[in-house]
């Protein structure tokens, strides 16, 4: 996004704001351990986890803020939070 003079902005959608940069810990999904229960997608407060064609789940890192709720609740411990270097 290019800077607008005076931080002036036209009305937009929340989706225009990529919140992925807020993240400190990044959830890494291990499809080997995943039972495809979909708990992560149900609980994600950002609504950024989607189902793949194979029935697994992946986050959209452009929006994932790294809250870690999915990793805590995953019944198979298939999600690991890894510190991200930027």
């Amino acid at each position: 996004m290019a800077l607008a003079v005076g931080c002036r902005a036209r009305p937009g959608k929340a989706g225009d704001n990529k919140t992925g940069s807020w993240r400190v810990f990044k959830p890494v999904f291990d499809h080997e351990k995943c039972s495809k229960c979909g708990m992560c997608q149900t609980l994600c407060p950002e609504g950024c986890i989607h189902e793949t064609n194979e029935g697994f789940f992946d986050p959209d890192y452009a929006y994932c803020k790294g809250c870690g709720l999915c990793a805590v609740e995953c019944p198979k411990n298939a999600i690991e939070m890894k510190q991200e270097e930027k």
Binding site: L3, V5, G6, R8, A9, R10
Partner: protein
């Protein structure tokens, strides 16, 4: 037309000629006569503007922020505690890049309460992002309002501007002032054409939210606009000179500085006293000169370094003090001359809270500077300490 008039009324005339569409201000000594005169112009149809009466300076500048964002040329005036009360709005007005012009009749900051002159009020606002102009006399205070609007509204700048002049010393003093005709003023200052404005049919928000990935860059862009303003001020000042014979293209002015060994650096009405003192010291064989700072923001660092490169010593007069440090001008002049060999810079804090500064004081400061004594308050009454 030349008129014998009070400084405040000359400024009010200049503001009227700039055709502000919205004025909001709260009366405070010694600014009161300006806003009284403007209220009178509006009430008597001599100025077609909305005059918004408010409960405080905070509200006054807030009203100006809204009006400016809506696309109006806006004006306010204040001093001292009034400016301090506007503080958070001042930062927002600059961050939103709104070209509000505000007059400051410079006055000391309380406590203790003082209604008299120094420059602590506007100097304390130096970091907010506003352009800052300082006037030596009422003619300059009057003319700088036209230039302030022209520069502030330039699309490459879009920053608010303070036009400062010493409270009472200028604001309440009668001097002959050449006031432009409305035709001349209109020729110099066209209608305000904002780059963007609030419009219900095409909604936009000003001064939105910046995450850590963006905030630093916003401040950088404001700093770049400040620095670009040097050229825009030079151009606007030159055009004023071409049209009306008074050239304000220089951010600083030298007086007998070319062959000076000791230079005085000062701002505001004190410069007149300094010039008289210099004339007398020159008659006694002392090579003294003056550098008058007209534009404090953007600070004319390179211009000062160039003008002072040849002198032996510099005495900087500050009608302000960053308590626990030094006067603001002394610090910045020393920064400008850092790395210039053989120039000693000494600061003198003086004239606070309306203490008179006379020719003999200027001469005494030059003597102190010659002895290498400085970075101190000048004129303290030891008997009360």
């Amino acid at each position: 037309m030349m008129q014998m008039t009070e400084g405040s009324h000359a400024v009010a005339e200049a503001v009227r000629l700039c055709r502000p569409q919205v004025i909001s201000a709260y009366p405070i000594t010694p600014q009161t006569h300006i806003v009284e005169a403007l209220a009178d112009f509006v009430a008597n149809c001599k100025l077609d503007a909305e005059y918004i009466t408010v409960d405080s300076e905070l509200s006054a500048l807030s009203a100006c922020v809204g009006a400016s964002a809506a696309g109006s040329r806006t004006y306010s005036a204040t001093t001292s505690q009034g400016l301090a009360l506007m503080n958070e709005v001042c930062f927002n007005a600059a961050g939103m890049r709104l070209p509000i012009v505000m007059s400051i009749a410079n006055r000391a900051m309380g406590a203790p309460l003082s209604i008299w002159n120094d420059m602590q009020d506007s100097i304390s606002m130096r970091d907010a992002g506003w352009l800052q102009f300082y006037s030596e006399d009422n003619q300059e205070a009057t003319d700088l309002h036209f230039i302030a609007y022209k520069v502030a509204e330039d699309h490459s700048i879009q920053l608010p501007a303070l036009v400062c002049f010493d409270g009472f010393i200028l604001s309440h003093t009668y001097e002959p002032v050449d006031i432009l005709s409305q035709d001349d003023a209109d020729r110099y200052l066209p209608k305000f054409a904002p780059a963007e404005r609030l419009d219900a049919a095409d909604p936009i928000s000003f001064g939105m939210y910046a995450t850590p990935e963006y905030y630093l860059e916003f401040r950088y862009e404001m700093d770049r606009a400040q620095k670009r303003a040097k050229e825009v001020i030079a151009k606007a000042g030159k055009e004023f000179g071409t049209l009306f014979g008074r050239d304000y293209s220089a951010l600083i002015e030298g007086y007998k500085i070319e062959d000076a060994e000791t230079a005085i650096v000062a701002m505001g009405s004190i410069c007149g006293t300094v010039k008289d003192a210099i004339d007398e010291m020159r008659a006694d064989g002392k090579k003294v000169g003056l550098v008058k700072i007209r534009v404090f923001r953007p600070f004319p660092t390179e211009e000062i370094a160039k003008m002072l490169a040849h002198v032996k010593r510099v005495a900087v007069l500050d009608k302000n003090i960053s308590l626990g440090s030094k006067g603001a001008t002394a610090l910045e002049v020393r920064d400008a001359l850092y790395g210039t060999d053989g120039v000693s810079v000494k600061g003198y804090v003086l004239g606070l809270g309306g203490r008179d500064v006379r020719k003999r004081d200027i001469k005494a400061i030059v003597s102190l500077c010659e002895k290498g004594v400085g970075d101190q308050f000048y004129g303290l009454r030891q008997e009360v300490l």
